[in-house]
């Protein structure tokens, strides 16, 4: 059998590796136009900041692929021909497949504003973007980052590390407030400001203003404020990278439409990761999952499906993590920015304003629904176990130490949390809205 995988990101490579572990006699080909070898996209920022070299971001040594008989092809796919079960590459090569996995990832969203194609205006998603950003920012001293999401704050930190003044333009009331509850969003906003980043909240961008050479020299906000800059990072989300499939009979919407087995409408063609869109997502789950973790889990599920263990993709209990400058973030279960009628919330913040803990729980049954941790490390298995088994908030607070994952000798803040919880409980002062 001949298995062809488009994309050498975490999804494509996890598929390839897991299939190889189970099936030793299939042919596996991975095609990527981005890089010769799999590297960790999450580490792009660290290359720019000088924490790592590109070499360090490759999770496997180069000999690994030949040893595991995974053929790597560096090309862009130009066309998919489902009748002849083949794909065409930009090198005019044609590769046929018995099963095709599309894991082509994302591309940065465009702003649609005037001046978005100017020199010095760009997004950040892949290696080429990073190279461009390195050139674009080599001798500048001020930059603007548009968008208050995960890549936006990464870009701000990257630029800051090279001594560039950064202004962040954020639409929400506080950083990432469309995902984080207001308290956490405010905490992070303060932390960003503490690094000397100028954060403009509740501000939207109107246009990018060019200089005489066609390079961005300023941006204008919706309140007509002009902010001079020599670079503008546009980080307003990503969308499935599926333009090369336009002419194909694959059904697409924003992404490639798949069922719960990651099958597309064409037999033997599958899609997974950022580029896939579920036709019928489960209640409360997004149709497109654009995370490292979900990309990996979808790939693990798809590999099983390919080697015949047909099982519905099940994301399990939601979790995610990030790092906002120096503050680590972990979340488990359901923590929405706004509480609904059935949910109560307990929030603790350290007086230093750099650490926080939130537990959301059911108003009636008191069962735990989700957690946010800022600057605190917590065990995933414990958090998930408590959510899955409907532990009550009292149980959770009482046993927080079991899940504590901060390094040895760290201050056991769970005692402070326990103390504040008992005060809140006595006064019945949990947040309900």
């Amino acid at each position: 059998m001949n298995i062809v995988i488009i994309g050498n990101g975490i999804t494509g490579i996890t598929c390839a590796r897991n299939i190889r572990k189970q099936l030793s006699d299939v042919r596996i080909t991975v095609i990527s136009g981005e890089s010769d070898y799999f590297y960790s996209r999450t580490a792009l920022m660290y290359i720019y900041m000088g924490h790592m070299k590109f070499e360090n971001t490759k999770p496997y040594e180069d000999w690994f692929w030949q040893k595991n008989r995974i053929d790597l092809v560096k090309s862009h796919v130009t066309c998919l021909n489902t009748d002849s079960k083949s794909i065409e590459l930009d090198t005019n090569r044609t590769i046929s497949y018995d099963k095709l996995i599309i894991a082509s990832g994302s591309k940065p969203n465009k702003s649609g504003l005037r001046g978005e194609n100017l020199k010095g205006v760009q997004g950040l998603y892949n290696l080429q973007d990073l190279k461009e950003m390195t050139l674009n920012t080599s001798e500048i001293n001020s930059a603007v980052v548009v968008g208050g999401g995960l890549i936006g704050i990464e870009m701000a930190e990257m630029l800051h590390s090279r001594n560039i003044d950064v202004t962040m333009i954020v639409r929400e009331k506080a950083y990432w407030n469309n995902v984080l509850p207001l308290e956490e969003a405010k905490l992070i906003s303060r932390h960003i400001s503490a690094h000397g980043i100028n954060v403009l909240l509740e501000t939207e961008l109107k246009e990018f203003i060019p200089d005489e050479n066609g390079r961005v020299k300023a941006v204008q906000t919706d309140s007509d404020k002009i902010i001079p800059c020599q670079f503008a990072g546009v980080t307003i989300g990503v969308s499935p990278n599926i333009d090369f499939l336009k002419e194909s009979p694959l059904e697409t919407d924003r992404g490639i439409l798949v069922n719960e087995y990651l099958e597309t409408n064409i037999p033997d063609v599958y899609a997974a990761g950022d580029c896939a869109q579920f036709r019928n997502p489960k209640a409360g789950h997004p149709a497109i999952e654009q995370l490292w973790y979900t990309g990996k889990m979808q790939a693990e599920a798809l590999a099983e499906i390919i080697y015949g263990n047909k099982k519905v993709y099940n994301r399990g209990i939601w979790f995610n993590s990030a790092k906002f400058f120096n503050i680590e973030y972990q979340t488990y279960g359901e923590v929405n920015p706004e509480l609904n009628d059935h949910t109560q919330s307990f929030y603790w913040e350290h007086p230093n304003g750099n650490l926080a803990f939130r537990a959301n729980f059911s108003k009636v049954s008191k069962c735990i629904k989700g957690f946010n941790f800022l600057g605190i490390r917590f065990r995933q298995v414990i958090a998930e176990d408590w959510i899955r088994n409907h532990k009550t908030i009292e149980y959770v607070i009482e046993n927080l130490n079991q899940g504590w994952f901060d390094p040895e000798f760290s201050i056991p803040y769970y005692n402070d949390i326990k103390h504040m919880f008992s005060i809140s409980e006595n006064n019945n002062t949990f947040c309900t809205d």
């Binding site: 580490a43 924490h51 993590s321």
Partner: protein, 440 residues
Amino acid sequence: MPDQSLSIAKPSESHFIQKVGATLAAAAILCAFIAAFGPGKAHPLLFFFLITGLIAAGGITYSIPYYKAIPGIKNNGIMQNPATSRGAIAWGIGVLMTGFYIILYWYPYYLEGLIRTMDPLSLILRGKISDQWFLYGTFYTLAVLIMGLRFIGKYKHSRYQIFRTISVMFFQLGFAFLIPAFLQKLNQPEFYFSYFWPLKYSYLFPDDINYLISSGNIGIFMIFWGLMMTFIATPILTYNYGKRWYCSWVCGCGALAETLGDPYRQNSDKTLKAWKIERWMIYPILAFITLTTILLWLNSWKSGTILGTFSGLFSQWYGFLIGSAFSGVIGTGFYPIMGSRVWCRFGCPMAAILGLLQRFKSRFRITTNGGQCISCGNCSTYCEMGIDVRAYAQKGENIIRSSCVGCGVCSSVCPRGVLRLENIREEDRFIPYTRYEDKI
């Protein structure tokens, strides 16, 4: 909350302060050169204060930005800086350090002027004038203290790192510098209570033992201490806390690697090939020193009839090849090129024993937090022992490797809080994380 923005130095200001610090340190080295060529003999006190003062001032100045910064890991520019990424400056420092070791071990008379600058201190501490080893010990301790200060600043967000560094600074200053010096002043054997066989291999050789026995009660205590540490305390402590109790909390070699060597930790080789070489070196060296010790005892028991005139040849060769050339010249001189733990990783027989215990009989592991790894590679990059930490973490496996010295930097640099050093149950430490959904 206080407004921190005013107190935070911008990266450019930090650069400037660090350049000043580095310049002061370079001036100290220049003074040492000048002193070595003779003037040190004529003006020992002047040069002593010039060298130590400039080193201290340089190190402290260099560390200021770390203390001013918002707590957290910032390895900015390490891979772009020629001093830390095997550039020209790194090679220059490597040549300088290697050269120093070669002169120190085999041509100490070239250091005469420099050695004399240590006379005043040596007289106070040891009651006799300085020699090359006291000069070396002073520089060594100074490096651990000054660069330890820098390390604490850099990793000030982690109490594990702070406590550990204070510990190695304490053991270096007290157990490896002051106490051996005072012992000499009191006409007692110069004994290092923080070094044990087989790292300090001669401590269980017949010659040393006989000498200690002849030194009376304190000598007997030293023998007892050495035997107890090697054969009783080592297995017990390693079972409970892993190899780290020694390698990154007590040991002087570890102390220098963690402090002076910290800027170079990312240069350790992470390839599978390097791991193979490591195992082919460290265990034969352990076998060699064990064999040598046994042979020497047999020889001594048979009153010299086994080895005859070759008595001690083994130990002499070991001393030259491993004790001096490897641990000093390569082990420290090559820091800037091969990373900070060259000796500990490829040569130290003590590390070999501790490693075997850690791998097969210990409660220590680095726990991977579920499926949280994002494969970024910071952990592997900054592992001074060249362990590909990520290879385990991304599979949800705990990291249990004989070479791990438990410095905790992988955990400190992890941007997702995935790694935790801990001593818990021995039984389940090799069981990897499996998603609940995959178990049912």
